[in-house]
């Protein structure tokens, strides 16, 4: 798993994160979702989605996410997510 992660490009990870959110969001305007959209705004993802999303991030990273240490601000956007979970991997 971790080898896959290491070879994954930044753009590929960003695309996977974005696609996951667009697929799961109940928000009306899916097309308006960008790398800057605030993910924890009401209506973008439910609390159930967040559980699945964290598991998805773990699968992309190939390593667990320590939920005790997550600052909610990390979920501000794709940009902050990438910086928090993927910049140390490669």
């Amino acid at each position: 798993m971790s080898e896959v992660t290491c070879t994954m490009q930044e753009s590929e990870i960003r695309t996977k994160l974005r696609n996951w959110i667009v697929k799961h969001t109940k928000a009306a305007s899916k097309t308006a979702f960008t790398d800057e959209t605030h993910i924890l705004e009401e209506g973008i993802l439910s609390s159930l989605d967040i559980v699945e999303f964290v598991l998805f991030i773990e699968s992309l990273r190939g390593e667990d996410v320590d939920t005790d240490d997550i600052e909610p601000q990390v979920f501000t956007s794709i940009n902050t997510l990438y910086a928090a979970f993927f910049t140390q991997v490669t």
Binding site: L40, E41, E42, G43, L45, S46, S47, L48, D49, I50, V51, E52, V54, D64, T67, D68, I70, E71, P72, Q73, F75
Partner: protein, 535 residues
Amino acid sequence: MPQERRSLRTGFLRSAEQHPERPALQLDATVLSYRALRERAAALAQTLSAHAPAGEPQLTAVFAHRSITAYAGVLAGLLRGHGYVPLNPGFPTDRTRGMLVRSECRSVIVDAHGARQLDEVLAGVGTPLLLLLPEHDDVSELAALWPQHRFLGARDLVDAGTWVAGPVDVNAIAYLLFTSGSTGQPKGVMVAHRNAVPYIDAMVERYAVTEHDRFSQTFDLTFDLSVHDMFVAWERGACLCAPTSGQKMFPGKYITDCGITMWFSVPSTAVLMNRLKMLKPGKYPQLRFSLFCGEALPIEIVQKWADAAPQSVVENLYGPTELTIACTLYRWNAQTSPAQSEYGVVPIGEPYPGMKLLVADEQQNEVAVGEAGELLMTGPQLTLGYYNDPQRTAAAFVTPPGRSEVYYRTGDRVRRPAAGEPLVYLGRVDNQIKIQGYRVELGEVEAILRQEAGVDVAIAVGWPVTASGADGIVGFLGAEHADAAAIRERVIARLPPYMHPSELRLVSEFPLNANGKVDRKALLALLARQTEAVE
């Protein structure tokens, strides 16, 4: 102050006098003292009252979500001597408009969340309204768009210094709360001050609440358990810690960062925390009490929670809005509780002080101890019924044969296994269905599904639906990857043939209703849509 004169706001006002500089409300990095919150609420109340529409009902709507305006708005309604009507910017606007119109409210307090939806909500409202948007400097654009309504903004706020407490009728509505009705039309439950005050008294005493406590606030204002958060905290000068949308997604960090001592949520929140590995042993030593309410509480989750919060007493609360927040409770005991639980669900225990219960058959006659029946209750928390709906009120608030008091029919099936044993919850009356003529308790099927699949949540529904009940059962398991065929085989081995699920479906997530509970109707609708698609 004598007991009969107290209303829902009394405790807050007393705390504001005794502890003016202590924190009353924390919202993200903002902390409001009791003095500041009281001043804000009084300013909103005074401003509305100065422009009050003639002949308005004694109700003020609050269209807001987790903002200072939301909490100050609730208090402002009460300071006016009104009941408050919470409206939720997270709900579909049609639903919000329906609640607003049926409440007959003429005064509405709106925060920034509510303001974004105001155009949609106001479309089709004929009655002239008074709308106060204290977070808006300029309301001239709205005023031009909606000439029939009057808008007030931040610049219109009057000085609160002149506010004095007027009389409150303890029999009047303290809050009007719309709950989902089986017909799809929400019903407005009228909760009087004299219903809420005994509840709050029972809670502050049982939990020995002090001004040093810090309360969670996981419930939306449209969910009546939020009344507990606000008014049990404020009764004793404690601080209410409202989570941001981010904190709500990561409850573990919210508990730690806010120093929560009094936790209250639906069991589903604990289930999510468990999946996110937030229930590690010893993680939350500062929690004094952990309360769960709103749906069945699985014992495995309580055991995990109790390990994570080793200093905390864990209690299971039960109660419909019609009986004021909660009306029975049960204290978890790691040694004795597992044996007292049925279907793997924690008992709901005993009535609140002064409340009386009746476990009855379909004719409302008491059943023998050990037998299952519908739970009926009466006492000081029995509410006034449904707003402008005498027909539905009469159907649910009944005088059973041989009794003199009015009881509320909860629609919930319960059983007292033996004298002295705690009451156990069996499910909704309508969760007991007839399958090919056999009476089936869906909760029993769900318990076995949970055990055999090793999942926290399993739902069984009767499907396909027939005139007399259902032809069979479809089970839904909260697991993305599992061997459904193998689980079904183990389940079948433990159940009589008429209770066998014809099919098990794996779902990565369950649809939730507006209050965060699993939405059974949505699961049935899913099955119906798929059947149509095939035919």
